[in-house]
Amino acid sequence: MRIIWVTLRTTFTVAIVCCLIYNIAVWAVAQSAAPDKADGSLIENAEGQVVGSRLIGQNFTDPGYFHGRVSSIDYDANGSGTPNYAPSNPELLKRTQESVTSWQAENPGVPVSELPIDLVTNSGSGLDPHISPEAAQAQVPRVSAATGLPAEELERMIEDNTQGRSLGLFGEPAVNVLELNLDVQAAVEAR
């Protein structure tokens, strides 16, 4: 019985320290030192309207925008997930073949051998905000044709929105699709 009584009192003190004080201390420092990041790295347009988060991918289907990765949840950021297809699952092959076929239809000038695998595979989160630099490069002819922007300008935008490896070493180079498309949108509107 004594153990139960001590447990209840210990639970109380630990809850005060680990739940209340710890959470609120982290929250207070975070909100005062880096409020933008603490709130989810949201991006606002010139009118102050939230257009998305720098860290969360969006669904792009317009040929005049760069497209992101396959998402079984259609980039619904109120959840997250993937279909969890095993390598041996026939559904995986079927879905990928469909992606390759529609890629061919949308990008007639670019051979399949230049289609990087990240564009036809489902990301882990279903919300991947990035594609590989090669995957952005492969879409330049299509976006250029749809928007009238010269290929060199699009390539410069890709470079601007490519984040390298952290500390030059950790992770992989990645292009932020939303930020890239914001630049595309601005350039189209400026014409």
Partner: protein, 556 residues
């Protein structure tokens, strides 16, 4: 896979290795009841906590120590269960999440208190901010603290000291290790982009004019203790694959280092506490060797990719990208899957269900062996159990009474160890067979992979890891109840039996080492130790692995 990504993995391992010894020496000092500098720093605060909690820092008997551990954890499981059941009516619930149903709350309460964090709910919709920030964070602090207390008591037993005081060890683990490190790393995570807010989900109008609701919350504080405490439960559904829970290569690095921080330091803490650092170093090197081999196997198979997709003629230099994130890439994803199962954390930055078959077998093997560092405290106690077995078998071979650190290992200890050893395969293989026979409709992938899904779920539960092959339809009463029971037994049976071993050894009179004594601080012993781990593991689980991942790889 590029040379650069190989270097990044080597650098990560190097940092972890360099941290292990200083952290280990710190741990040894932190749990020393005698007067030292740390006690002067933390003492006043801890004595206040002791007074409010109603206990004193006095030695318990081995039985009382074990009873305090099991009973306190059981009471806390009940409290967590109650909050989850009634979260819908409690405050701090901006998303209007409903009460958790009984079997899911049963599973979740055990899961978090047993340091497993198998999640059969999705963080965005299944739990309120209150549940996340209070009961789940509470469990994520208390369960690793319990594991660390167990390890310290066990090591005290091997060195002939008393067990210590469970509640004092629990508080020391919190004040001296978990809270300070978690606080600093939570802030680092915020600066890397992880949200920490109590505001409800954000709403955005996308470039193409659609509405996007973006779930967020107090993620950074949750994430820090999730990794540091080898818990692994994600704030968001897809865990550390979610860009909010792992925004960059840098946050990925910090997560890997946090997972290894305490568990890789424990061998050195042990060496210091038993008075011979060499004893700890040989175990550390043995485990590191196994870890490097596992990493090598995983990297080579993941970078080769999935032949089925590669045959489509697309550019596949990035390796197998299904279920992976671009910013992390194939190499860091495969590496993370090895670390998270070696350190029994269970956080994932890639979907393990989508790993290539052999790439998925490596995490499975890590969890089955449960000795490649292993989870917070419990992993190292498991390692010491295998060390005792290695000494015992070596002793039998040369016909001497086996001794470990000068204490004779006799029938009583070996019986307890044999029970502990047999419980794990029983908890994995029997429920897997039952699940396959009774619940085949919950398995999402066809063929050999389906068997691996069920096998992985119970292995993860029994080893208190918590990662999953998430295609499995595990949010049913059958899976909630069965894995709940497996997690509970997987955690507490071995804790009790191994505390009994420690108590029994502590009571023995040490015999002085002689020329014929089998030394346990040499490379020779390290090799025997690894051999025993692999032989026991292979004999137990090889047939299941052949039917699952190995068969699947052969069919691709």
């Amino acid at each position: 896979m590029t040379t650069l990504s190989l270097i990044s993995i080597a650098v990560t391992l190097l940092i972890a290795v360099l941290l292990a010894k200083p952290v280990g020496l710190y741990l040894a000092a932190a749990f020393d009841y005698g007067p030292n500098r740390l006690n002067r720093v933390f003492g006043p605060l801890e004595r206040l906590i002791y007074r409010i909690s109603g206990f004193r820092e006095e030695n318990q008997s081995w039985k009382s120590y074990a009873a305090a551990l099991v009973v306190s954890n059981a009471v806390m499981i009940l409290l967590v269960y109650l909050v989850l059941r009634f979260q819908g009516a409690l405050p701090l619930n901006p998303a209007g999440v409903a009460n958790m149903e009984p079997s899911l709350a049963f599973n979740t309460a055990i899961s978090f208190m047993a340091n497993t964090d198998l999640q059969h709910y999705s963080g965005e919709s299944g739990v309120s901010y209150l549940s996340q920030a209070t009961v789940l964070v509470f469990s994520m602090f208390v369960s690793p603290a319990t594991g660390l207390a167990l390890a310290m008591a066990f090591i005290r037993g091997l060195s002939g000291k008393g067990a210590g005081n469970f509640f004092a060890d629990l508080i020391r683990a919190l004040t001296r290790v978990l809270l300070p490190v978690a606080f600093v790393s939570a802030l680092l995570f915020v600066f890397m982009g992880v949200p920490q807010t109590f505001e409800s989900a954000a709403t955005a109008t996308t470039l193409e004019g659609a509405q996007q609701t973006i779930a967020r919350g107090p993620i950074a504080s949750f994430l820090a203790i999730k990794e540091l405490g080898n818990n692994g439960g994600g704030f968001l559904g897809v865990n550390s694959a979610h860009p909010f829970e792992n925004p960059s290569g840098l946050s990925n690095l910090l997560q890997i280092l946090l997972m290894l921080l305490v568990t890789s330091a424990l061998p050195f803490a042990y060496g210091k506490m038993v008075g011979s650092l060499r004893q700890g170093r040989v175990l550390f090197v043995s485990m590191l060797t196994m870890l490097i081999v596992m990493t090598g196997v995983s990297l080579s198979t993941e970078s080769a990719g999935n032949p089925v997709l590669n045959n489509l003629g697309i550019q596949h230099e990035q390796g197998s990208m299904e279920g992976k994130e671009v910013r992390l890439g194939e190499a860091q994803s495969a590496f993370y899957s090895v670390i998270t199962t070696a350190a029994e954390t269970g956080a994932v930055n890639t979907m393990h269900d989508t790993l290539t078959p052999i790439g998925g077998m490596v995490p499975l093997a890590n969890m089955m062996l449960n000795t490649v560092f292993g989870g917070m405290g419990v992993g190292f106690v498991n390692v010491l159990m295998y060390a005792l077995i290695a000494v015992f078998l070596s002793g039998l071979m040369v016909g001497r009474t086996p001794e470990f650190l000068g204490r004779k290992i006799e029938g009583k200890e070996m019986k307890l160890i044999a029970v502990t050893l047999l419980v794990q395969p029983f908890l994995i293989l029997v429920p897997t067979a039952i699940a396959l026979a009774t619940n085949p409709d919950t398995i999402s992938n066809p063929g050999f992979h389906g068997l691996t899904q069920a096998l992985y779920e119970f292995t993860s539960a029994a080893a208190n890891n918590g990662s999953g092959f998430e295609g499995l339809g595990d949010a049913t009463t059958f899976w909630n109840v069965s894995t709940g029971i497996v997690m509970y037994l997987g955690r507490y049976i071995s804790m009790v039996t191994l505390l009994a071993v420690a108590g029994s050894l502590a009571a023995k009179k040490p015999v002085p080492a002689a020329s014929g004594t089998f030394r346990t601080d040499t490379a020779m012993f390290g090799a025997v130790f690894v051999g025993i781990v692999l032989i026991v593991g292979a004999l137990t689980f090889f047939p299941a692995l052949v039917l699952g991942p190995i068969a699947e790889q052969l069919t691709l």
